[in-house]
Amino acid sequence: MAESHNSLSGDRFLAYATLTPSAFVLFLLAGVPTVTVFLTSMQDIGMGETSGPFIGLDNFIWALSDPTFYSALWHTFVWVFGSVSIEMVLGLGLALLLNRTFVFRGAARAIILAPYLVPTVVAVMTWRYMFHDIVGIINAVLIDVGIIDGPLLWLSSQSLAMFSVIMVGVWKFFPFAVIALLGILQSIPQEQYEAARIDGASPFQQFMRITLPYVMPVFLLTALLRTIWSFHKFEIIYLMTGGGPLDSTTTLPILVYLKAFSDFEFGRAAAVAILTFGILCILLGGYFILIKRAEARQ
């Protein structure tokens, strides 16, 4: 026997036996569907049908020549970059704040992280009540303070709807950034700050030269994860506005859903879904290059 072994031969059986159920489930529920969605995207599927005649790439051609696709793409970018950038800045600020010592820190942390635990549907209902044109507290307060004269249509005007949806998204998901950044902040060795203080660095210099470089890898990774998740986030927008008014908050995932389950055009929906995934992959590639560069600089 010249081949090498890491373990006893009986172990090989156990290794594959324990892995098989997982492999089976992932194959059946992620692998096969991915193939199916490609096949579906090349079929002309009518209302109430789940399959139809093959028509090649026609559905992709339709999507790429249809203005609704491009407007959904634009809305997706606004939604992703709007919410992720605000989340990250807010997240870093609050993580720095929670990293200080003060009385009731535990309670403050619990309240600040609470939105992340709240089910999306709950967040949406609460905010929709607060955004309500007439009985909503937001309009009431703004009018009372004198910032606006009359009620704003937060969710039903084309110009404000995306802004409102982003606000709710930020409120719901920024705690993820806080959790990730607080973890890395707490792991910075205190000696670094002590050495910097003895060397005469101001608090701002300490932040720029110690804190920021230290948290940067985690900051970028968190932003990356949030970008991926926001990109195919569906329910928060769907529940806030349903993609409207008109299509002012229709992002790509919403478009897929509406094409498939409202217009019942499965083939076109599948094509849009694949394009969505493709764009996400390109985005991720770019992000990875950026992160690699940032790492190389350090």
Partner: protein
């Protein structure tokens, strides 16, 4: 320090340098508290408002301008929720779906994670990467083909289809998390058990699984929470009132102001949130215990 030494302090007690006497220190403190107070009140307000308004009677919820504190505190909204709606059915459905998906991903994912953590055979390294890619697949990409299968297999409008679909999404997470929990348990414990007379499977069940329990519990909570909140699959796969889960059930009430009042919606929201928050508080303590147990691992 701005404290000055004066001759009158003739007490034998040594003079203390108080940090409080430093102006800059005080300013920083005040600033911190101001910022914390602002952050907490802005971020906490929606949940506070939800809770507050769920105790307001119907008329007050539609008052213009809105009242801040309820003028009349009432539990009417909660009573209506149970009497007039299928809230309890939704609740039970959510419990079945989330429980089923959690159980499935813990058992299947637990076995898989053990394999990924303990063996190094051909294909195993690639598998964990594939699992990660699966986790990144957009829900809307998968929901189309899954819907087609569900319809073709006659599983439409069943809770079973929801359990299966949720498992697909929680399994990759379970695999990755549990693998790292298993990695933290020294292999020598299992080897020792095998020398003490266990088979590999016995060593896993008697030693590794009990030690990984805190980690398994936390993965369970993540899976449960994911399935408890899941909306898209429920929206697409189920249609009848008796098969709706909580998020779907509540969502269909939104925008039906004429039928259901905001009061019931907010009361429902509070009731959906409470179990999630309680669960986390419970697990948080478990996790701390788990970590401290893990700190002495292998000794």
């Amino acid at each position: 320090m701005t404290t000055t030494f004066t001759a009158s302090t003739t007490d034998a007690a040594p003079r203390r340098n108080r940090e409080m006497a430093d102006v800059q220190y005080l300013a920083t403190r005040a600033m911190t508290y101001l910022l914390v107070l602002t952050a907490v009140s802005v971020i906490g307000f929606p949940l506070f408002w939800m809770l507050l308004c769920s105790f307001k009677p119907g008329g007050e919820l539609y008052a213009v301008p809105p009242t801040f504190l309820p003028q009349i505190w009432t539990l009417q909204n909660y009573r209506d929720l149970f009497v007039q709606t299928n809230f309890l059915t939704y609740f039970a459905n959510s419990l079945i779906v989330a429980g089923g998906a959690t159980f499935a991903s813990l058992v299947i994912g637990g076995l898989g994670a053990y394999s990924l953590s303990r063996f190094k055979f051909f294909g195993i390294g690639a598998f964990s990467n594939i699992a990660l890619v699966c986790y990144m697949l957009p829900e809307v990409l998968i929901v189309l083909p899954l819907y087609i299968y569900v319809v073709k297999l006659g599983l439409a409008d069943t809770l079973f289809s929801l359990i299966v679909a949720n498992t697909a999404f929680t399994l990759p997470l379970a695999l990755w998390f549990m693998r790292s929990y298993f990695n933290a348990i020294p292999v020598s414990l299992e080897e020792s058990a095998m020398i003490d007379g266990c088979t590999r499977l016995q060593a896993m069940m008697k030693i590794t699984v009990p030690l990984a329990l805190p980690g398994i519990v936390s993965v369970g909570v993540f899976s449960f929470n994911h399935a408890w909140n899941e909306f898209l699959f429920a929206l697409v796969f189920t249609s009848s009132e008796t098969k709706k889960t909580l998020p779907l059930g509540l969502a269909t009430w939104i925008g039906q102001d004429n039928i259901y009042s905001w009061g019931m919606l907010l009361a429902g929201a509070v009731l959906v949130t409470i179990p999630v928050v309680l669960f986390y508080l419970l697990v948080q303590r478990k996790l701390v215990v788990g970590l401290s147990e893990g700190g002495t691992k292998g000794e």
